[in-house]
Symmetry: D2
Subunit: 283 residues, 4 copies
């Protein structure tokens, strides 16, 4: 199967590599020209898509995704499929679905959970949504990218709703851990001790990884920038409002992320949210 891969950032590059390893014929394109061993390199997104059965895109946000999709629509043949793996708004997913339909093309959302290391290790959780037949056609693609494929539903935007709710779960954990650590510090209990107990209790790599960042205060360089975390929490709030639901914890986290940015933490890791609780406690 011939596949275009659009976007060779920290996540996209290892994902494209895994497609190559799985035997797909991959043409890549990146905004700033970049090669990938074993892949053909195209000069534009449209050119990359020419002759491909599917184009996967993995870029930073709504604006970049929309711009790439417009180009992809020019290159993809009728009947070909654009699979957006980026974390985007549910509203954009619906817009892209319509745009590709207007070009006689198909569209799937297939966002992923996992950091660059997980992408490299083929350990992502892939969450596709869209027409069941389409998902089946590309199941081999999803399986080449991750360790687990969870089908969110029959409409593409449902996968994006699930993805932003998942990121909200992480954001809430970061806020909660930060609040608890502030209490621990003011109680004279070392954060590392608290983390040890929480690792015993939750036994989750997510808690272990983020907990260590907070305990060791390794907020720079950022694994995931706090300002991008705010973007994701906004996406979750928007997805919830759209269907008529509130996310009170997301509202609270949003407020604290704004405070963090007001204190110069925009480029730090979003685990530095813990500093907001510390400041409130006078630490």
């Amino acid at each position: 199967m011939k596949i275009a891969f659009l976007g060779l950032g920290k996540m996209g590059a290892p994902m494209a590599r895994n497609l190559l390893s799985a035997g797909f014929e991959v043409t890549v394109w990146n905004r700033s020209p970049k090669a990938l061993e074993g892949a053909r390199v195209a000069g534009s997104a449209a050119e990359a898509c020419a002759g491909c059965e599917a184009a996967l895109s993995m870029v930073s946000d709504d604006a970049a995704t929309e711009s790439v999709a417009i180009d992809a629509a020019k290159g993809l043949a009728k009947g070909a499929t654009h699979i957006s793996c980026s974390t985007i708004s549910t509203a954009l997913a619906r817009k892209l679905e319509k745009m590709h339909a207007d070009h006689g093309q198909e569209y799937l959302s297939a966002p992923v959970f996992g950091r660059p290391e997980a992408a490299a290790a083929k350990r992502l959780v892939v969450v596709p949504a869209g027409k069941p037949g389409l998902i089946e056609r590309f199941r081999g693609v999803f399986e080449a990218l991750g360790r687990m494929t969870v089908v969110a539903g029959t409409e593409p935007w449902q996968a994006n709703a699930l993805k932003v709710c998942g990121n909200f779960m992480i954001a809430s954990m970061l806020e909660t851990f930060g609040e608890a650590v502030a209490v621990m510090k003011k109680s004279g209990v070392g954060p590392a001790v608290f983390l040890e107990a929480m690792n015993g209790l939750f036994a989750s790599p997510v808690y272990a990884n983020y907990g260590a960042i907070v305990v060791d205060r390794k907020f720079e360089p950022a694994g995931f920038q706090l300002k991008l975390g705010l973007k994701d929490v906004r996406l979750a709030l928007a997805a919830a409002e759209e269907v008529g639901a509130a996310l009170p914890i997301a509202s609270l986290v949003r407020d604290h992320l704004i405070s963090a940015i007001a204190h110069g933490q925009a480029e730090m890791d979003w685990a530095s949210l813990a500093m907001v609780a510390e400041r409130a406690a006078g630490l």
Copy 2:
């Protein structure tokens, strides 16, 4: 080593059993008379403590703990130690420490993380705090109860602060999961699908267990009653206020637990907190 074990409830009984298995000589006492194979049964807490190097107590709340401690103080010899494993307030821990000191006795807090199944399987996380020499003396006891011992600090109340912060972490997870599930439902995504993805993401037994309770709506019979969850969140808020810190997420969870109780959920499992988010979303 001769040990008294006070309180043979869902948690206490398997814990006492593990002490017996580890070779301790155990005398047990329970408010409503109860036997335990292999253990001597005493007619009162004071009688159970007579001649013991340590008395462990595992009862439901502050009031029960204080009442048991007063009796234990009558039975314990000078130099003997009361080890409270219950989830109690930091204020009570300080009060008990003083009371036992007035009797020439020692006091340790050693709350535990884990449900009755974990207690039976010797899989608890035990969190002792107090004088380092004392903790060393009873390390064998802690190791007989759980799979992991995390020393919280040199003052007993610090262990209680850690314990209630840990329970707050679980409460926050329940609230967050409930909020997300309400969005998923209104988005037409099945809660089981969301849980599958979250299990992929967090890979935590805590998420898996509580998530399943929410998805399957197995709120009755309760594993842990919602009204006891409110008690624990209150303990966390009190421990935080005491040291001059706020726990905004705990405040929010408290409000929602109160709403749950107003809707008749006091005796349901505290995972039924998810119903508050559902109702707010008009589900």
Copy 3:
């Protein structure tokens, strides 16, 4: 002075009338054709603006304001001024200022506080912002509209920031009153009794008017629709985020307004926010 007045809704019509009473020569325009005694009627916003020193606009939201402003820019002469009285985002105010500058025109924001009755009675609080010289030139206009003119600053968007923060103050009062009334009801204290005491305490017509709506449950027909209240709270949150500040109470109110809409209250008066607290309390 020749003035165009664009938008003859519940607020615009009485405002235009007051300009006529004050002796201004007024040309009016409304999207759905509407006459106003004593005023010339134009067939388009652009036509209404021709030959006028200023055009005042008073329409429902950002979209309507932007559309009217584009037309006004076509009709206004170079050097003439567009004065937007609508409740709009700070971002739109900056955009309009730039657009009019590109046409060689001036722009002021001059939002107002007050309901239609206050507009009719010339009792509005007018909050202009922009170049000081411009504000002085149109002081007579502002004074013809209200009982009080408060200059917010030298940049138009500052007036819009102030206006949405003022509306946020009202929204917060509604939420707080609703929460308290739920407690009063569950305590067996009549809401009317509580309102009487609050009127004694605050002695504010805002509390008296909204309090009466809540106590008498006169949520329909709406004086100000709840969905418009949500729009305003969103504008406040956006204005705050833009300058790097959070508005935690606005976040909470937003969540509750979303819940209200999920329960079918979108078209009710926004004082019906009180029903959210009632439902949470199981009333």
Copy 4:
């Protein structure tokens, strides 16, 4: 009518003076001996109450009220009435009612709204609750103290519930105003300008007085200490929880008051709550 007045603090002294002016025969008592022109001075609360038809108490908190009530019960004749004007918990009100009933005495709660200046000017809002016949009997007393009497209900604790909900309304206003002022500052709008507009909008002396304290940063000396504000918010939260209702805004205010105290503001005026929003915004 012979009346005992217990507690001659900032509020009690002017209240007792107004009873004298109204022609009541008043015996006073204060913990630290204090005289009041025109009144007989007693050496103990019990002695003050001897031979009186009613004893009014106006002291600082639950502990002081309970202690005074125990003494009053010793001095009051059977059939005499204790009228507690202090801001106390609903739980204590029920306890006092029972204690006095055990002594064959009557009990009313009659908390008041207003600062010392209002007490001196006979401008308080008095909120009695209890047996209707009793309230009628002492209507002249209430009218001698304030400008308005609002009967909360037939059970004393209902007046205390109303009082703490009223204080919660003020606390919420302070928080909201503080949040808005932080946005105004970061928007380059002077707080005094914002206050001017809010005074135009709300026309409330409560907004005017507290707004001026915030704008002028006159947080010391405190008119009402922030730590006492926290006590009152706690009473509101307790009264609400007791009847099965949440007060989400009170929870948020509580968190911010705790943060304020962690930053050394316990003895400042509670309007300094505004500093919490400023700090969060990086001001």
